[in-house]
């Protein structure tokens, strides 16, 4: 362990790199716990109102673009895969692979955000942005095909939950993209190798977590109630 004590990345208050790594990883996990609770509040609101207004939620959900949602799910899963590979390359000391994988992850993250922006724009065109979020352009559900038993005002509730959850998810994606840019910069300068790669690892944890949130958002927002259309 002695040779590690002199590693340039070792911070003064840690005994060795192993301790520093443990602290970093545990810290990120504890942070992810707070994120779970943060999103948990919105998932709770979703559960509550979906059980209360199933028809309205299904009607509103069916108006979302299933192809775009599915593609985005694929994009995000692929980005999680490349992120895992980036960590793998860092662990095994493949510097080129590390840089390529990080860049790919970054690119896929941006693709996701781009597709999300297209979807948001579609909703804007359809007057489906709830409340007065866009001044002078009030919410209008007349474009949404209502299933029997669905009340119009509850459609607006769905769209607010949709925008709140996907919006908060997108904010986390943007933070992730920023994080990865920094990591990519340092990776390009050769900072991470088999001995020290904790920043890559914990950025990966964050990225996968954001992916997991989407794994739940996709069926809840896009899929439930699709079958009622037929």
């Amino acid at each position: 362990m002695e040779h590690k004590a002199s590693h340039p990345a070792l911070q003064h208050h840690f005994e060795n790199l192993e301790q520093q790594r443990e602290a970093g990883t545990l810290g990120m996990w504890v942070f992810l716990v707070t994120e779970i609770m943060f999103f948990g509040g919105m998932f709770l609101a979703y559960t509550l109102y979906r059980t209360k207004y199933p028809q309205a939620f299904a009607s509103a959900s069916n108006h979302l673009s299933l192809p775009l949602g599915t593609i985005n799910t694929g994009v995000l899963i692929l980005s999680s895969f490349t992120m895992a590979l980036a960590v793998y390359s860092a662990q095994t000391g493949k510097r080129r692979g590390q840089i390529v994988c990080l860049a790919l992850t970054l690119l896929l993250g941006l693709t996701f955000l781009g597709i999300k922006a297209i979807e948001y724009h579609d909703k804007y065109v359809d007057h489906l942005i709830p409340g007065r979020l866009i001044p002078g352009r009030p919410f209008d559900a007349s474009g949404v095909h209502l299933l029997p038993g669905a009340a119009k005002q509850n459609v607006e509730m769905f769209y607010w939950i949709y925008f709140a959850m996907t919006g908060m998810h997108a904010v986390h994606m943007i933070i992730g993209v920023g994080l990865l840019s920094v990591i990519l910069y340092f990776a390009a300068r050769g900072r991470y190798g088999p001995e020290y790669h904790n920043p890559v690892e914990i950025s990966g944890l964050y990225w996968h977590f954001v992916d997991i949130i989407w794994i739940f958002l996709f069926p809840l927002l896009y899929l439930l109630g699709r079958h009622l259309e037929h």
Binding site: L26, V30, T34, M37, Y49, K52, A164
Partner: protein
């Protein structure tokens, strides 16, 4: 293993964390947990006195039954702002961010917290939240009550709800980061030999507090965010117009805000555990019970929030569950109280200022806790809901519990923090004044509340005046009692007697380094070979990295007399 060998420290070693560097920049950009603790100490003291000012305005208004000093709208703002400032900007950061920040690394034998930069960041976030909230107060104030209930806060209030909410949202992240830092530090940075069951109970309490901070705070963050959007753009999760339920806000709010009470009182219990054991010079009675009861409070604390909704159209079945669970949370609290009492038995008790506060805490916390059981009973709660009984109850917990523990801890560790002794006579005197003033303020409120005086009104029926006069009189005594320590603590920083490394002659790790400690806390990494509260013969309790004997700066060996 033997304690570290004696060796002479070169003159440079007498550098401590305060004089290690000079200049404003060395403070504002510090990553030393001890300096950050002092930054927090300054800022929470500032907020405490703002909150206290509002309290004085409330008590002044309630001196007479007529609403003659403040108009009803102003009064709404005054009690709201008193609550917001005291809860979010004083009580929640009070012990963890100052004493905890200062002592957690030192008590476990670490050089710093795991993430020093995040620690500094948390102070800046706290400050930013504070500045935004103060802006809200100056721009026109908030009148929703510190609870921000929808739909009043989302739709009807004409005050600065969003700014105040934003301030709380932001300062919440400082609390999250502090909790995260503590958890990681306690897990990964304990010194060799510092096993979990050798940890001081202060650490256990802070671990439990951190759990509440990281699990609860994110929920209030998202809730306040949703509330702000709802007010801003009339989108609605809490808005009945689109099928929303305002009571959902209360659920989400109290999911955090009830456990938040435990953020305030758990660290205080940690302080009291230290004080009771150390000033009785005895090992704590039932160490593991006290340690695990902290965790139990952290867990059970999350199961009881519905008792705030007994009269808010919550289902009676949920009410029954919450009522039962609220009674359950009394069990770990009672374990603590009984174990403290049992620790006192046959101890060699010394009644120094910190101990006076600790004993006060036990009594007042017991009253606060027992009246909490009144409120947890469904039927009685309907009678006393939204009366001064509730106000008195939670002040007994928050002031009688949290604040007294904070003051006790501040006095106890003051020699370590500042390197100076506070004047003991003044300390005991002010502890007594605080105790008398506090009880005079809040005991009458129990009676007034039980007789039916509602909270949050600036006027009241004349038959309640006698209680309010008593209460206001008590508040002025309490105010004086709190001003005295402020004066003599500041005074002692310059003129107090220099403190030895271990002025109380105690075994804890924080007493085995100099007062004030060096930047890295210990000159050599300590190896812990003793149990918590193990009162060994004085000559066996060594200062780690001894200083030269006979110098006036630091007394090297304990009990050399």
């Amino acid at each position: 293993m033997k304690a570290p060998e004696t060796f002479e420290i070169p003159a440079a070693a007498r550098v401590n964390y305060i004089n290690a560097q000079y200049g404003l920049k060395s403070w504002l950009l510090t990553k030393d947990h001890k300096r950050i603790a002092l930054l927090y100490l300054g800022s929470i003291t500032f907020f405490f006195f703002i909150g206290g000012l509002y309290a004085m305005m409330i008590r002044l208004e309630l001196l007479t039954p007529q609403g003659d000093f403040l108009s009803s709208t102003t009064y709404n703002k005054v009690f709201t702002q008193h609550g917001i400032i005291m809860v979010f900007f004083f009580l929640i950061p009070s012990i963890p961010a100052t004493l905890g920040n200062f002592l957690v690394p030192m008590m476990i034998g670490a050089k710093d917290l795991a993430f020093p930069r995040i620690n500094l960041l948390s102070w800046y976030i706290y400050l930013l939240g504070g500045v935004i909230t103060i802006y809200a107060l100056l721009a026109g104030g908030v009148d929703t009550g510190w609870t921000f209930y929808a739909p009043y806060s989302t739709t009807f209030s004409n005050s600065y709800v969003i700014a105040a909410g934003l301030g709380i949202f932001i300062s919440g992240f400082s609390s999250i980061l502090t909790g995260l830092n503590f958890i990681v530090t306690i897990h990964t940075m304990r010194a060799p030999g510092m096993t979990w069951f050798r940890l001081p109970l202060f650490i256990w309490a802070h671990y439990a507090t951190s759990l509440v901070m990281i699990l609860g705070t994110p929920v209030i963050a998202i809730t306040i965010l949703l509330l702000a959007f709802e007010r801003l753009a009339h989108v609605g999760i809490f808005d009945p117009a689109v099928g929303g339920d305002p009571v959902l806000f209360q659920h989400l709010f109290w999911f955090y805000s009830h456990p938040a009470v435990y953020i305030m009182v758990l660290p205080s219990m940690g302080v009291v555990s230290e004080l009771i054991a150390n000033f009785s010079r005895k090992n704590i009675f039932g160490y593991k019970f006290v340690a695990f009861s902290s965790l139990a409070i952290a867990v059970f604390g999350f199961l009881v929030w519905g008792h705030h909704l007994f009269v808010a159209s919550q289902s009676v079945y949920a009410g029954m569950i919450f009522s039962f669970l609220s009674f359950a949370v009394a069990i770990p609290s009672a374990i603590k109280v009984f174990n403290w009492t049992a620790t006192l038995y046959k101890g060699s008790i010394s009644f120094d200022t910190p101990m006076l506060y600790a004993l006060g805490f036990i009594g007042l916390f017991t009253i606060g806790g027992m009246t909490g059981l009144f409120l947890a009973s469904l039927a009685i709660d309907v009678h006393v809901s939204d009366t001064y009984f509730v106000v008195a109850h939670f002040h007994y917990i928050m002031v009688g519990g949290a604040l007294l523990g904070y003051l006790g801890g501040l006095h106890y560790w003051w020699p370590k923090i500042s390197g100076r002794m506070y004047p003991e006579g003044w300390g005991r005197f002010s502890a007594l004044v605080v105790f008398v003033g506090f009880n005079l303020t809040f005991l009458p409120q129990f009676v007034a509340g039980y007789l039916g005086m509602p909270r949050r009104y600036h006027a009241y029926p004349p038959e309640f005046q006698v209680f309010n006069v008593l209460s206001s009189a008590g508040a002025s005594i309490l105010g004086v009692g709190l001003l005295i320590p402020l004066i003599y603590l500041v005074w002692s920083m310059r003129y107090g007697k220099r403190a030895e490394a271990n002025p109380w002659h105690l075994p804890g790790l924080e007493w085995r380094t100099a007062s004030p400690p060096p930047t890295e806390n210990f000159l050599i990494t300590p190896v812990v070979t003793w149990e918590a509260y193990e009162f060994a013969p004085p000559e066996e309790m060594q200062v780690i990295g001894k200083f030269r004997e006979g110098t006036d700066l630091d007394a090297p060996i304990i009990g050399k007399s």
